[in-house]
């Protein structure tokens, strides 16, 4: 008996040992992490006193993503800490833990995920969950997702679950449950007769619904709110057209002031591309298209959908002073972009040629008329308003004309010249009710001088002129890089034209950073100007601050 047991044990041990070895050989672990720390100090000129800081002189945001893979099986988690969150991030983020845990089994034709996941249907107008670290935004779904590719050219998706809401665990009758399906058909893959066709055609459709129990004692709330979308993508030679239309039934909420109007969204883009020339045009209209899994929640949380942005995202210091945030309650606008490569050996092109880009965008309020004679526009507990679909409202939300020339002067010198004319509705976008639209002109000169193949000095010289808000600004940035490891920079933004002399402040910063392979550390000291940070039309406010910040990031 003992002999038999010993034999079985030995066989099992050898088997487990072999399996463990194979298991380890096939396993892969990848990950990334980032820590952002900010040490605050008092700055009376900015109105930041020790009393205001009140001992909270440090902000700390950090995450680590770990992904494990074994063949068709993948699993992972993300750890996050906001202890406490850096100023400007939602204070409800304070805490630490593992908000993102998931496991996926995926083959060539199927994928099955349980736990947290990010997903997007089409442009995202009825469903998009994503994470944006710089905004402190995460609307991931915790539930089940199935993706099927039964035949080449067909993708079917189904999702079911509840969304992340900071650190609040989902409980029965709390925020809503989201379910949705999406189908996309690529005709060129689906039908062999179209495989070689010049016409590239993709069609897609989505249906999403959220369920939230009606515990509102004041309004009659729809417990199930559905949204539908249809889309196409047509390519023909150098032309490409895409469009998506979305419709949502009555969805009274804190965002739309509890009106019962249906919602609509339309995005249409067209582009033409050939050697040296690119044209892009976009039209969009959103009408009452905020769609959240909790009707009482305001702000950047629990969005089920995402409304694509249309304005150019500026990156220069002064150009990004007035970034536009998409207005889900209603906006209509268009954008036109032209990119042209100016040939070599011409007056402007010179020896190396030059790049010219022109971008114009304008966004207005949608047309709004009374839905009833007895109720005001957007009055709670009514249909809210009526609107002509293609009519522009009179209020300009944002207008932007940007002209940029990118030119290389010699092997050592290159530059970018940018001129911007903006109009910005700070009352609507920033909530500065009663304040007039900002009309600003901005000029930027960005020059780079290359000393050697790995050492370069870049300088930005910027000016912003406006009669509104805080009036005129000048800014300078000097950045010295030693590739691929070091950078050093100093910058100053000076509000020299402020009508109030005491507010003619310098916002100076000094930074350096070191990069080694995939690890990067950067340290900054100085003043942070009060402003807004936007990514893809989703924004968060940033308060003025003074102090040190340190960022450490890596991936493996």
């Amino acid at each position: 008996m003992k002999k038999t047991l010993l034999t079985i044990t030995a066989i099992l041990a050898i088997g487990i040992s072999l399996n463990a070895q194979e298991f380890l050989e096939k396993s892969e672990v990848h990950g990334s992490f980032e820590t952002d720390g900010m040490f605050y100090q008092a700055d009376n000129a900015l109105g930041i006193t020790d009393t205001l800081i009140n001992g909270k002189n440090f902000g700390f945001n950090a995450f680590a993503d770990i992904i494990y893979t074994l063949g068709d099986f993948t699993a992972g988690f993300r750890y996050e800490a906001y202890a406490p969150p850096i100023a400007g991030f939602d204070p409800r983020l304070e805490g630490q833990g593992f908000p993102y845990l998931w496991a996926t089994y995926a083959t060539e034709n199927y994928s099955f995920t349980v736990g947290n996941f990010y997903e997007q249907f089409g442009n995202g107008m009825v469903l998009r969950t994503y994470q944006e670290w710089t905004l402190g935004y995460d609307n991931s779904i915790n539930g089940v997702r199935v993706i099927a590719k039964p035949v080449k050219g067909m993708i079917l998706k189904g999702v079911y679950g509840t969304q992340r809401f900071f650190w609040n665990k989902w409980e029965k009758n709390a925020r809503g449950i989201v379910k949705g399906v999406d189908a996309e058909l690529n005709f060129n893959d689906l039908f062999s007769s179209m495989a070689g066709s010049k016409l590239k055609l993709t069609l897609g459709g989505s249906a999403v619904s959220k369920y939230q129990v009606d515990d509102n004692p004041f309004y009659k709330m729809p417990q199930n709110v559905a949204a539908f979308a249809g889309r196409f993508n047509v390519g023909l030679g150098k032309f490409n057209f895409t469009s998506e239309y979305a419709y949502k039934i009555n969805d009274p909420s804190a965002v739309n002031n509890y009106i019962y109007k249906d919602g609509q969204g339309l995005v249409f883009t067209g582009s033409y591309s050939t050697a040296g020339l690119g044209l892009f045009a976009m039209f969009k209209r959103y009408d009452n298209m905020s769609y959240k899994s909790d009707q009482s929640v305001n702000g950047n949380a629990l969005h089920i959908n995402y409304l694509p942005a249309l304005t150019e995202d500026h990156i220069y210091m002064l150009a990004s002073m007035y970034p536009y945030a998409t207005q889900p309650n209603g906006e209509i606008g268009f954008q036109i972009q032209v990119n042209y490569k100016i040939p070599k050996d011409t007056w402007i092109g010179g020896k190396y040629g030059a790049g010219l880009s022109v971008n114009f965008s304008q966004i207005n309020d949608i047309d709004r008329q009374k839905a009833h004679d007895t109720a005001g526009i957007n009055q709670s507990g009514t249909l809210g308003y009526k609107s002509d679909f293609f009519k522009f409202g009179k209020d300009v939300f944002n207008r932007d004309l940007t002209v940029a020339i990118n030119k290389k002067f010699s092997k050592k010198v290159k530059g970018i010249f940018t001129l911007i004319n903006q109009e910005y509705n700070q009352a609507v976008v920033l909530g500065h009710t009663g304040e007039p639209n900002v009309k600003a002109n901005i000029a930027i000169l960005d020059m780079t001088y290359k000393f050697t193949s790995n050492k370069a000095l870049r300088g930005e010289f910027q000016g912003l002129w406006t009669k509104e808000d805080k009036q005129d600004w000048a800014a300078i940035l000097l950045e010295y890089t030693i590739s691929p490891h070091w950078f050093f920079s100093v910058a100053d933004q000076y509000n020299y034209g402020n009508e109030i002399k005491a507010n003619r402040l310098h916002y100076y910063t000094g930074s350096f950073g070191y990069t080694y392979q995939t690890t990067r550390i950067a340290v900054t000291y100085g003043r942070q100007r009060e402003g807004v940070v936007c990514v893809g039309g989703v924004c968060r406010q940033v308060p003025a601050s003074n102090g040190f910040s340190i960022t450490l990031s890596s991936n493996f």
């Binding site: 379910k179 004692p217 004041f218 305001n298 507990g381």
Partner: protein, 282 residues
Amino acid sequence: MKIRYLILLAFLVVFVANSCDKVDAPYVEKVDYCSGDKKVLLEDYTGHECVNCPGAALLAHTLKQNFCDRLVIISVHAGFFARPSAYDPLFADDFRTEAGNAWDTFFGNGAQGNPNGLINRIPINDNFVVTPGNWGTAIAPLLQQPAKASLILKNTFDHTNKKLTTKITTTFLDAVEGDINLLVCLTQDSIIAPQKNNTPEAGETPIDENYVHMHMLRTTLNGIWGESINGGNSVGYGDKFSQEYTLDFIDEWVPKNCHVVAFIYHEDTKAVIQVEEIAVSE
């Protein structure tokens, strides 16, 4: 193969499409708010240069009617839009108060952009500051709770010396733990002064020079945060506390347009337990 999956997809679309509730008018629930003793405090944070604030004030007035007068409103002028203008004489008046400024800083109303309010000083979705669109839904469930205390206010106004004496008797109807503060405020109706406005139903736009300000906080009678009535001792059913305060009126305060608003609240959480309002003089 393809047909099978398309049928499956169609089934799923129908499944989702069925998850779709169309609500027909009227959209407001028919609930009897006239029975019940509990009252709720709505502090409407506002400013004379806040263009959306008259719309919020109109909403507050409508809610007061819908809730059968069981809503007590204090209109707190504080923050950026309440500042007296140094450039525009139309908005040179200063309706801010020491208490209103302190509450605005503490709860963060001004920092989140007017108009907004506090509902019984209770956080809704982890935030004390409630946007007007959420006022009705935040107030309604509170009115359906039983009252834990009753407040009886008795005012005496000496017209010769322009002196108000108010006596507040608090009777507890349930056990309550912790320190309980009583805060007594003076509000005034029918103050005619310019107001920026973009709500036609609330007055002239874009500036209503004869805007009628209602429920405006004028001062408090016992400090910014009031004072403890129980010294931190537990209270139970039937326990009574009485306080008396006096206030010398200044010329701007018109007695016949003024009200005393008194409320008791948990000192630690700031949550209001009960509120009452009575005219200064009939």
